[in-house]
Symmetry: C2
């Protein structure tokens, strides 16, 4: 890495620290007492019934092994407090409470003890909390992401009864939702609902950093941050929290100049171990989008050489034809579908797109030499990709020895401008007719498919995708948008259990950007 | 109740608050890493093996579902802290730790999930503690009573390894053990060991109040407090913490003037619901012993009328012969053996003993009228008891329609002076020959048996009892003295599970008083 850039990392981390946003707190009470019941017709097999208003909590008492499930009526990220008091008898023993915080009803229906997925069980939001003396204000220690909370007396032999009251969530975000302008009344109802849930997702994920998921995993990943930032630029337009994130990423660049795909914020900022080609090269468009939205070109100038470096690192792994062949076996993500999706066409299109963004960034930052280098990389790789992935006879885009056809390939070659608009339209229309074309499973890739459809003029198809994908989540009761959504497989999970999926995930918030851009406010 | 006394309760609680002792903190590190193994030859079926020194902890790393058991080498009451750091990989998930704090090895061997006893499971010292970010200082939230702690990664899928270090217990007591004078070198070795464990028990139970048990139930019960106070007077002689307790008890007297058998200290002092005849009448000797040990007759004068009132309340339930027949069905405790022990003889002897203590207290407080009333009650009841419980022909003391013979009956009629010393000696010697005589199971009743043996001149038998009972606990590895001990039944429990028994119990500390009184320091 350029020794000068390397030396600046400490300075950038200090700037990041100074930009750490304050969290706004809002207070929320539960709206109803519910029961979660097995229902094969419901999403993931569990439905919520509302037997009672939350006001009735004060008149209930719980005995041993009894509990209550509260519905806050909306998705929240924050801390819970409640009062617990003994009734009928003195508090002759501590009170052992079990809390389960749930984003989705299935988290309340299924037993966490049966979880056998391959991510840490610690992400499942369960607390055993023992209160020594009553009455007491009880505050489970962690921050939780939830709409529902189940509170149980985890003790068969409680020697008194318990009354719970004053249940309240102090929710946090660095976004004041009052800053989000109202949608134009021209927006159709279904898109209005998608925008509403998207704004909730964006605000929930924007804590002191943009968290990828508020339940799991709370790290900041560059790709998730980018799409959430787009939703922010289209709504609340709070730029300093994003600037904070950009300085963190650049401050944690490694000695080779490689951007960190993800980082840990606590107890102090640390680079994550994962290196993802996608999230390295996307630093350039992320920085460009920030500068263009905010007008803060000083930050762009300060950090742009880190972004250029990512493109150069990727280009160094291209073959003589200008095709990125991943000779070092790095992690190429594209979508949460690693056993199925062939990613080569997509990642090449993505690098081209990012190199073009880098070139534009360089021009705006007054770096013509860098702009020229980035343009050369983009053009060279675009030529290589075109030759390798586009079947000019059929107009189909293919990837890999099995000539796999996927939305990922077409989307990214479109965004990169590897195809002409007409070629992209033809490739998409061919794709729509191929039954076994590999479809996106994440809102992240789906976002880029929508972007590509808009880019090549397939506007109706873009909105249809928004409606079927984000609208499909809304139809299934999404309170925030999810990490993974497969309309055909409600139990789909990258982790061996849908309990482990994040149901408020930053990379799904970008849909707001499309809606707000298409329907500008008056 | 005397309206004047009633009005003073608030004042007494304020005095109590002003006397609340500061807690001294001492820091302790574990001494070894152990394993707890099934061993039918060991007490309660579990033995501890010491595979490693605690220093080796730093070189160990734990993965998913792995754990370590630490032995602090001594009984402690306090808070645990430790450092946890991820090794080998970044901390890609929270760390879900399970702690089990154990007084006895069986608490580590048996599963708490199988516990089906009838006291609250919340007393079993288990914590599930999730740490969001590493490295971290981890502090399980409650105060624990333990010698051993098991720390487990309660997660099959931990994505990194964990190193634990700097494990430390900050133990608390209001007693500075440096204030305990050394034992006379004349004390035999086995009694020295009993004294050592007794002093540990006394200091551990003396927190801001005298807790009956440091693991369970942490309330203050008058009978437990009395015997622990005797150990304190014989050793550290810290009188203000006991004065604090006396003011709390009297401040929580009910509107009828009845002393509370137990009280809750937190979140603010509250009278417990249980009314125990034993613990009502024993306020008089407790106050007398405090005044005689400390010389603080001002406190005795302030509170003595509450003590007299307890005797009068009990006497009001006596029949025309002066026998307490418990017409209101109150709780008469005597020993933790309610289904077996017939308590009538014992409780009558106890009331007589306490009335005699009240009479002496009255004289010392300059209350001759009260002294006369107390003496009349004692004499009347002694006559009644003698006629009802002593078979003058055989010299045997009996209780109930089945003429049950028990240590409890003889001990309390002896302490009350209902029998002459010669009659007591004869009754005890008869008792020793009766195979099915009901023996004590608690250190509390055993303490009073020892007292009675000394009182009637059976000194050898008194020491033999100390050696077999407290020495029996020492032989079985007691680090502090227990709530219940039955040499013939290691699993004996008043609560359906020996896991729930307290293994550091205030009422067992009084043995120190006998040893120190018999072997005064130079």
């Amino acid at each position: 890495m350029d020794p000068e850039l390397s030396a600046r990392r400490g300075e950038w981390l200090a700037i990041a620290e100074s930009l750490k946003p304050a969290l706004l707190e809002t207070r929320h009470a539960p709206v109803s007492i519910v029961s979660v019941e097995r229902d094969d017709a419901a999403f993931q097999g569990w439905s919520v019934r509302r037997p009672d208003s939350a006001d009735s909590l004060a008149s209930r008492v719980l005995g041993g092994n009894e509990g209550v499930t509260l519905d806050f009526g909306a998705y929240l990220v924050g801390h819970l407090t409640l009062r617990a008091e003994n009734v009928e008898r003195p508090p002759g023993a501590p009170l052992r409470l079990r809390f389960v915080f749930a984003e989705r009803p299935a988290e309340l229906g299924e037993s966490f003890d049966d979880y056998r997925g391959w991510l840490s069980r610690a992400w499942l939001q369960e607390e055993i909390h023992v209160v020594d003396a009553l009455p007491a204000t009880v505050r489970p220690p962690r921050r939780y992401a939830f709409r529902y909370v189940r509170i149980e007396v985890a003790d068969h032999a409680l020697p008194y009864k318990v009354r719970l009251s004053d249940v309240e969530c102090t929710a946090t975000s660095c976004i004041d939702t009052d800053d989000i302008p109202p949608l134009s009344p021209d927006v159709p109802g279904d898109l209005t609902e998608i925008d509403r849930v998207g704004c909730i997702t964006m605000a929930a994920c924007m804590q002191t950093v943009v968290e990828d998921g508020t339940k799991r995993d709370r790290r900041m990943w560059l790709g998730d941050m980018r799409l959430c930032a787009l939703a922010n630029y289209a709504t609340a337009r709070r730029f300093d929290p994003i600037r904070h994130c950009l300085y963190l990423f650049c401050g944690l660049t490694d000695d080779e100049g490689l951007n960190s795909a993800c980082l840990y914020e606590h107890p102090h900022p640390v680079r994550g171990e994962d290196e993802i080609v996608d999230y390295s090269v996307q630093l350039a468009p992320t920085l460009l989008e920030y500068a263009e939205a905010s007008g803060d070109f000083a930050t762009a100038r300060d950090l742009c050489h880190v972004a250029f470096r990512q493109i150069e690192i990727a280009f160094a792994d291209c073959d003589s034809r200008g095709v990125f062949t991943n000779p070092k076996g790095k992690w190429v993500f594209v979508d949460w579908n690693p056993d199925v999706l062939h990613t080569e066409a997509a990642i090449n299109g993505m690098i081209v797109a990012c190199a073009r963004a880098a070139a534009r960034l360089a021009m705006l930052c007054g770096e013509p030499d860098a702009a020229a280098r980035m343009t050369t990389i983009a053009d060279t790789m675009a030529d290589g990709s075109r030759g390798r992935f586009l079947d000019e006879t059929t107009g189909v885009v293919v990837s890999g020895p099995d000539r796999q056809v996927s939305y990922a390939s077409v989307a990214w070659l479109t965004i990169g401008g590897v195809l002409t608009a007409a070629e992209s339209r033809r490739a998409f229309l061919e794709l729509f007719g191929i039954g076994d074309a590999i479809r996106p499973v994440t809102p992240s890739l789906t976002h880029h498919v929508v972007q590509a459809l808009f880019d090549c003029g397939l506007k109706d198809e873009a909105w249809a995708t928004v409606r079927s994908f984000w609208g499909g989540m809304v139809e299934r009761g999404a309170d925030a948008f999810w990490e993974v959504f497969d309309a055909d497989d409600p139990m789909r999970s990258p982790y061996g259990s849908p309990l482990m999926n994040s149901y408020c995930h930053a990379w799904s918030a970008g849909v707001v950007h499309f809606i707000r851009r298409a329907y500008p406010p008056d």
